[in-house]
Amino acid sequence: MTASVTPAPKPAARPPMLARFTTQLTVDRRARQNVYFVILALVLLVVFPLFFDIFRLNLVGKYLTYGFVALGLVMCWGQAGILSLGQGVFFGLGGYCMAMFLKLEASDVKSTSIQSTPGIPDFMDWNQLTSLPTFWIPFKSLFCTLVAIPLVPGLLALVLGLAMFKRRVGGVYFAIITQAVAAILSILIIGQQGYTGGVNGITDLKTLEGWDIRTDTAKYVLYFVNVGLLLGAAAVAFSIDRSKLGRILVAIRDREERVLFTGYDVASMKTFAFVLASVYAAIGGAMFTLQVGFMSPSFVGIVPSIEMVIAAAVGGRTSLFGAIYGTLLVNFAKTYFSESFPELWLFVIGSLFMGVVLVLPNGLAGVDLRKAVLTMIVRFSRRGTSRRRNAPPAPVVVGPVPEAPDGHGSKGAEALHS
């Protein structure tokens, strides 16, 4: 190997500190994740605010709220193998909780004086409601609202999760049932317009405890709060991922029976993952309401729920980073294509999606760039055997070679052991 035509890279030329660091990175997954985490934080906290004006930054902020959903999906789908097609339900519930608070604040007696009942939200007045419905009353208080945002969706997820996982409903069945829940909730919200604002949603939100959320300054602040929460959520997800619980979740995904026979309470653990995902989605929904200024049932139904799953799958269902980047990528692509080539948009996203599922089951995060590049180099260098010897080593070594995870898939059909 030493007698080479092109000189091999010399490791000794590198400063020893860096060498140690990179060595550590190679062997230590945790250290590597930390680096990725810092990169993500830098991109979100420094690069984006520097390069984008407030209009586009606000867009990024909106996309990032879907990032919460994607993080949750990684935890419950990628890690624990539970595919929920009803994440829009939790996103929506979180968003509605926040919207109800903001709407009540925007509907003070003075600004609603032309209504027949001043002081209640305008859409209630149009629907002949003469007093605030009981379930709206807690949302007069910011504290109660902040409690309700994770609590309401979390409780729903807890009930659904316990009911189904205890009876060992899983896989495909779970996916379809969550989808039906999404359908029910969106019909309910649209139908009960006196209580929910109906298909228009809850609009015209103005201030949060007197602070105008529509100004540019507020948008900046909200963006950073959003990023902070997202990074926090990612950090929590990581610590779970690294804990014993995280490893058991993966084990459940791959071989549920074995974990069960080892004596673990599989149902509770799956429920935990599902509840966590729902709480993440709810936080995303609440941040969405704050940044976009309204909430509507179009985020609750089946289509948005599946779109959220798509974004996570494109980025990489097992990678927390992949999910966040995937969400950004899919949404940017959506904005870009639907404006520039509206006719092509569905073709592009549809094909992208089939392609990712077929070729890259682990999404973009599963792409082994080095392997791809090396394979290409090897292929090129095959033209001359003398040069081939000097080519970099064939892609046999190091690094987690992504495998098609058949585990969480094959479980679907055998989810029911009646």
Partner: protein, 424 residues
């Protein structure tokens, strides 16, 4: 090869992977600047332009925005409005423009998604700084953009007939609000059919519910009739068998239908199949324009009545010219519904107001608007009311086999009343 160098390759690659992922969408994001028809260069350019004061009114040009769904589920309905507004603007430009300036359009796509509407409205008002916007179709999209228009003091011309209960300084409503479309129609049907009992049907969302609420009050308090049933079905519902049986059980004098979208097709097909036709049942709808009739099929609705302010078959010179111009531009097979005509009014009303105010300034245009008349409107004559809605007539049309309506009745000019007392 030493292990260290392998490790280096690996690490570089791993970190690079993250960076490349991040880079990809950075690029994507940057490549998307203004968007729309006249996507003009980088944001930096726009900032400079913006600092020059009013970038969209030059000596020869004035820029307006157009904000509809060109994609997604609402594209079916909104395409007609997009076409009509373009036609009007082309005609204005051909006639010399507004205050000597040609109108340039920046079109944005709301993509049938309400937050996208709000986003694009912001883009048009804050970055493109357009002097006015023609757009929106559904109430939900209008509600989504309303705060943006009010905050940025923009100007919106909204074409759809809608539920009322709204009046904004920044919006002109060129379609009818609910009372204009409902009351005269009910009066006519009650008189000509001697109708006493009514069955109200709607898709389950705000416009049908609010409209039926107004209809019910009018039926009970003014016509002294009775409402024998009121039913709502989810959007997209396709099975109306039970409803049809309930109608048969009640035998109402009039079925008052506000079903929208794909449900419409199922509803009328199943009515016909169940033997409910114009021969044995009077039906009045306010939601089926010529556009929808195309999908339902004239044979499934023949003989039923619709109450609108405009029908394509309207017999006057303005309309003949309009229909001919529309077909010349968009093809002989195109149909023109009520909303399409209302969208066509927008640019003309704006032009008239700008010329009266002799300015493109939103406040001045708004101040100049009340009282403006349009004698060239395809629907005949309209006038802007101080409450930003239009005085207009109501017509009753009867559905024909060929997918057109035959106009049977025309009301006097009706005053718009978005907050009707006694109907709330």
């Amino acid at each position: 090869m030493s292990p260290a160098s392998t490790q280096k390759t690996f690490t570089t690659h791993s970190v690079a992977r993250g960076l490349i992922l991040a880079g990809t969408f950075l690029l994507l994001a940057c490549s998307k600047s203004g968007g729309g028809d006249t996507a003009s260069a980088a944001p930096a350019d726009k900032a400079t332009a913006a600092s020059m004061g009013s970038p969209t009114v030059t000596a020869t040009e004035v820029t307006v925005g157009q904000l509809h769904s060109a994609t997604g589920t609402m594209a079916i309905s909104e395409t007609g409005s997009i076409e009509a507004e373009r036609l009007a603007i082309d005609q204005i430009n051909d006639a010399g423009g507004v205050l000597g300036r040609k109108i340039k359009i920046i079109q944005e796509d709301g993509a049938s998604d309400w937050p996208t509407f709000a986003e694009k409205a912001k883009l048009l008002l804050e970055q493109d700084k357009v002097v006015c916007v023609f757009g929106c179709w559904t109430s939900a999209s209008r509600k989504a953009v309303l705060p943006v228009f009010e905050k940025d003091n923009g100007l919106l011309y909204y074409p759809t007939f809608y539920e009322g209960l709204e009046q904004s300084k920044n919006v002109f409503y060129t379609g009818q609000e609910a009372t204009q479309q409902i009351l005269a129609g009910l009066d006519w049907i009650a008189k000509t059919k001697n109708a006493k009992t009514f069955y109200l049907i709607g898709s389950d969302y705000i416009w049908p519910r609010t409209s039926n609420k107004i209809a019910r009050k009018h039926i009970e308090n003014v016509l002294h009739g009775t409402v024998v049933g009121e039913e709502y079905y989810p959007l997209g519902h396709t099975q109306f068998g039970s409803l049809i049986n309930k109608i048969k059980a009640q035998k109402p004098d009039v079925v008052y239908a506000i079903v929208v979208g794909g449900s419409n097709v199922s509803f009328y097909k199943q009515l016909k199949a169940a033997g409910v036709t114009a021969e044995n049942q009077t039906l009045l709808t306010i939601s089926v324009t010529e556009d929808e009739l195309l999908g339902i099929g004239g044979e499934n609705m023949v003989g039923f009545y619709a109450a609108m302010k405009y029908f394509q078959s309207l017999d006057n010179d303005n309309n003949k010219k309009f229909v001919a111009a529309f077909k010349a531009k968009y093809g002989d097979k195109s149909v023109i519904g009520d909303v399409t005509q209302a969208a066509y009014l927008g640019p003309w009303l704006w032009k008239a107001a700008v010329e009266k105010a002799n300015s493109f300034d939103v406040d001045k245009v708004v101040d100049a608007s009340p009282g403006i008349e349009l004698t060239t409107a395809p629907e005949g004559y309209v006038k802007i009311h101080p409450n930003h809605h239009l005085w207009s007539r109501l017509r009753i049309g009867q559905a024909q086999l060929d997918g057109q309506y035959k106009v049977l009745y025309e009301s006097d000019l009706i005053e718009p009343n978005p907050f009707p007392k006694g109907y709330q």
